[in-house]
């Protein structure tokens, strides 16, 4: 599984960081989401799915690769 953030869509809410702090962070200046672990596995996966669900900009996608 690969995590992709659509940066222009991201609204810097930080919801993904609350959902999956090991996988996401935010840029210092504009708060746009950063993917720390591009291919999360195991215990990280439920949090990543949560982040996709709660992102208020629908800016996070998971691909099966």
């Amino acid at each position: 599984m690969k995590v992709i953030v659509d940066e222009p869509k991201c609204v810097a809410s930080g919801q993904c960081v609350f959902a999956a702090p090991d996988v996401f962070d935010q840029r210092d200046d504009d708060g746009v989401a950063i993917v720390l672990v591009e291919e999360p596995t195991g215990e990280m996966v439920p949090g990543v799915r949560e982040a996709v669900a709660v992102c208020p900009a629908a800016a996070i996608r998971l691909t099966q690769e």
């Binding site: 869509k9 609204v11 810097a12 809410s13 930080g14 919801q15 960081v17 609350f18 935010q26 840029r27 210092d28 200046d29 504009d30 708060g31 799915r49 949560e50 669900a53 709660v54 992102c55 208020p56 900009a57 629908a58």
Partner: protein, 397 residues
């Protein structure tokens, strides 16, 4: 197993909350039939960009799709678009649709959202749907005289976009400053200055008395000549279809802290009024983030055994973009007892506000602040931080 009791789920409302509900149902392993009923002909799309990137022309409608078609198809929904629910019978467990269909349900999720509050006597543009926004967009041209009634977030964002497109904009607000009642005077003054600096003719403390042939008469005796009027004076929850159903309706569908309105009936998103235990108050939240969180939460509670249900206790979050400056807030700012400026730069272009209710911190709002910095406050709100501690935390965050 309650999974069996929730075999057939009907979700009324196919926007962010409804979509979050059906996705979370499938993610939790629900294999029973799910019907998703949507008033609009479009598949679920995102609303916040309607008054931002879509209105400005930066984005086209395809950019607003909440999920690609293949992801929607994978949810295996009985999707009924361009259809409304007209009645619910919570004893017989049925929902009647506008096309005459009667659906049996084991669980019903109400996510019918809100609609623009009308301004009596004024037939203006509104912005709730994609079609509304596209219609308005087609008329925003350089030099067009635009009158926006209501300087809440929607009206303020619309005014900002119209200015960026070269329109001549008048923004009319009955309160002394935009957003000041909800967010405090410092924020209201900042937003007012921002709009004036960008050439908006901001008229505060006045209402609209009447309209005729391209002219708005205001309560102070002045008038506004306009080629088009945008009405953005708040919203009304879509609950009329539930009148007489036996559900409690009071500015929304009234729910308990599990978001349950009656046995087998749940509500999520803008239309839901529920008791948030974190703030010990009932609230109805029209924020995009709440729609996703509450829909997800409802799906899980709906499938859980009663003893495993979890209370819905979120820290609300919202944002607004105006002239490239972002406002962001965590918490429940409405009904605060005091709004205090915690930090600001010299000319108050960037600021941090704290909101007190009783003896605790209930919210923070940042204007032009790095989002990462504001994020640190969420834990303090979730932890019901004592207002007296705010100075120490303010230094640390």
């Amino acid at each position: 197993m309650s999974q069996r009791a929730a075999q057939r789920v009907v979700v009324v409302g196919a926007s962010a909350a409804g979509l979050a509900t059906v996705e979370a149902l499938r993610a939790a392993g629900h294999t029973g039939q799910i019907t998703l009923v949507g008033e609009e002909a479009h598949t679920p799309y995102d609303r916040p960009p309607l008054s931002k990137h879509l209105l400005s022309g930066d984005w086209e409608p395809d950019r607003l799709a909440l999920r690609p078609d293949d992801a929607l198809n994978a949810l295996d929904l009985d999707l009924r678009l361009a259809t409304t629910a007209v009645a619910a019978d919570i004893t017989a467990h049925t929902v009647t649709l506008s096309d005459g269909a009667v659906l049996d349900y084991d669980a019903l999720v109400i996510a019918t959202g809100v609609r623009p509050r009308p301004l009596p006597g004024v037939d203006g543009h509104v912005i709730r749907t994609l079609d509304d926004a596209l219609q308005l967009r087609s008329r925003l041209r350089p030099g067009t005289r635009v009158a926006v009634v209501g300087a809440g977030f929607l009206g303020a964002e619309t005014a900002a976009v119209a200015r960026s497109l070269g329109c001549r904009v008048t923004l009319v607000e009955p309160a002394p400053a935009p957003l000041s009642q909800a967010l405090g005077d410092a924020v209201g003054n900042l937003v007012a200055d921002l709009h004036r600096a960008h050439g908006v003719d901001l008229r505060t403390g006045v209402g609209v008395v009447s309209t005729s042939d391209g002219s708005l008469a205001l309560s102070d005796g002045s008038s506004v000549e306009a080629d088009l009027v945008v009405v953005a004076i708040g919203s009304l929850p879509n609950t009329e279809w539930l009148t007489g159903s036996g559900l409690t309706l009071a500015d929304g569908v009234v729910c308990d802290h599990f978001c349950q309105a009656a046995p087998g009936v749940w509500a999520a998103g803008d239309v839901a009024r529920w008791h948030n235990p974190l703030f010990d108050t009932t609230m109805r939240i029209e924020h995009r983030t709440n729609a996703a969180e509450q829909g997800t939460h409802v799906a899980r509670n709906l499938l859980a055994r009663p003893e495993d249900r979890r209370r819905f206790a979120p820290v609300p979050y919202f944002w607004s973009d105006q002239y490239g400056i972002r406002l962001q807030a965590y918490g429940y700012l409405r009904d605060h007892d005091e709004a205090v400026l915690l930090d600001a730069d010299a000319d108050i272009r960037r600021l941090l506000m704290g909101y007190r209710r009783g003896e605790r911190l209930v919210g923070v709002l940042g204007v032009g602040l790095p989002p990462r910095q504001l994020r640190g406050w969420r834990a303090a709100i979730a932890g019901a931080m004592d207002w007296a501690e705010i100075g120490a935390v303010s230094d640390a965050v």
